[in-house]
Point group: C2
Chain length 332, copies 2
Amino acid sequence: MLEGALDVAAIGNAIVDVLAHTDDDLLDRIGVVKGVMTLVDATRSEEIYGALPPAVECSGGSAANTAAGIASLGGRVAFIGKVKNDQLGGVFRHDLTSLGVHFSTAPANDGPSTARCMVMVTPDAQRTMQTYLGAAVELSPADIDPAIIAAAEITYLEGYLWDPPAAKQAMLKAADLAHEAGRKVALSLSDPFCVERHRGEFLTLIDDHVDILFANEAEITALYQCDLEAAVRQTRTKVEIAAITRGAHGSLAVCGDRVTLVDAEKIARLVDTTGAGDLYAAGFLHGLTRGRDLGECARLGGICAAEVIGHMGPRPETNLARLVADAVLLQM
Amino acid sequence: MLEGALDVAAIGNAIVDVLAHTDDDLLDRIGVVKGVMTLVDATRSEEIYGALPPAVECSGGSAANTAAGIASLGGRVAFIGKVKNDQLGGVFRHDLTSLGVHFSTAPANDGPSTARCMVMVTPDAQRTMQTYLGAAVELSPADIDPAIIAAAEITYLEGYLWDPPAAKQAMLKAADLAHEAGRKVALSLSDPFCVERHRGEFLTLIDDHVDILFANEAEITALYQCDLEAAVRQTRTKVEIAAITRGAHGSLAVCGDRVTLVDAEKIARLVDTTGAGDLYAAGFLHGLTRGRDLGECARLGGICAAEVIGHMGPRPETNLARLVADAVLLQM
């Protein structure tokens, strides 16, 4: 049972990541496209896994990573997503709930196993992802608990969720419920290939349902099929707030006529970019729910993203609330 | 099917590690003894897991870590141990076989799940382990493939394997087969509490079956119930070779009247001591099978141990063959 108000309800594919260091040769050999997320079926997933070196398993999933980040920042957050009642489903559940994330979506008792994403990290710290959606495709409108959506200031949806067909309806239901309750809806575009798969539907979704949009440069330009400047002009007429990340070039927050540019945080070392966008969204959303201005939101996003790219894996290894407090102290 | 000769056949509990950063307070709160390995049942295992922060899963098991290390050094190695035919069993199998380790032990199709060890790493880099043996207790003499033992120059047994009752018989069978084939038998004492649980039986096992003994200072003094000097005197009459590790003080190799002292390798950072003893054994055994003298064997052990304590997790993240080659070049 959910008690009290929430800052954010995050909805996404519930996925366990299988992280391996690889070189570019291996990507070529198994024929995968570098830097993006590709969906694979169970057979292809086994084939790729068989070609990978020893790996490490840890909980992932884009919106789930964002939920973990918000919890680590001290925010109140729920996650909605589908695992199976299997070992990796138990791992996913533990890793979220142990952070204090409310996670009450019933697991599937039969059908495909908990989703797995093979994340291949190359020496340039780029990540290439091959996802077997498994039980995540079972997420349906029945899993959207109206009490959770009504309790949350912002309902956050990942674009990847547009891939499993029933989840699409779940997202629309959640967006409707949020707006009926006078709440905001945020969307992450997730991946340029994901945008290309669903471009028309994403444009309609954004027009009709989205208040806050997260994208990186490749995604926003794929969406509007133009350069960044033109994409910024488009987006300001479509959503209330847009946050556009540009890797080492920082990010920009767009709100009506105002565009706020924020530099990237300095980092000690770049190890693995997995989760960078997810943790940026965590920091930005946490700032918004705490009434910070957009520049501060973007900076919070940058601090959280800088933490997660400094180590392997898509979730923070540091207490983000403390990290953010330290960063503010350093500025004084 | 095994083809050709092997350097080492390693026999041990097949375990997936659940690694979490914790503080000493959590250890106190859940009432676990710091620095050692404790066996827990399924209920207690769930209870402790519920109290842990987010964790990472990776393949472990003492002798399996040693096998992974030997493979990474370029040695030919087989592992014998029992997983269940479940998700974590698949993870364990992948992580060994992808290194080229021969692993043909049939998994259990029913009964308890694949073994899990919760490894709590405190800020001082110490690890405290709570192990649920699960399917590992199903290992029995029938799983010891005589062809593998006969093919291996050294059969390496972990002391932890003395805990599951049928595995004890499997170890004795393996030792007998090895000696019948004119091969050597090595044993790791594993853990001081493990030594205390089985002291009398370990003394007999060593007398009757062991040629090469691995232990740290706490284990060897627990075995002979005396100080290190006296323990060294005892051990030289019992086994052909003994390798005794002393953490930051390096290690000593004992062979008859000769005692060779080797300093510990310099390390850039100490993160997690999990796997230190296992990887020391990997380096030492690899040296032995390559005909190196005991000082070189101990140094190889030290280099491999230094790699594994520089990061989280009990298995090498670096190609050890390359690391060792670099270390030798640096000396020239």
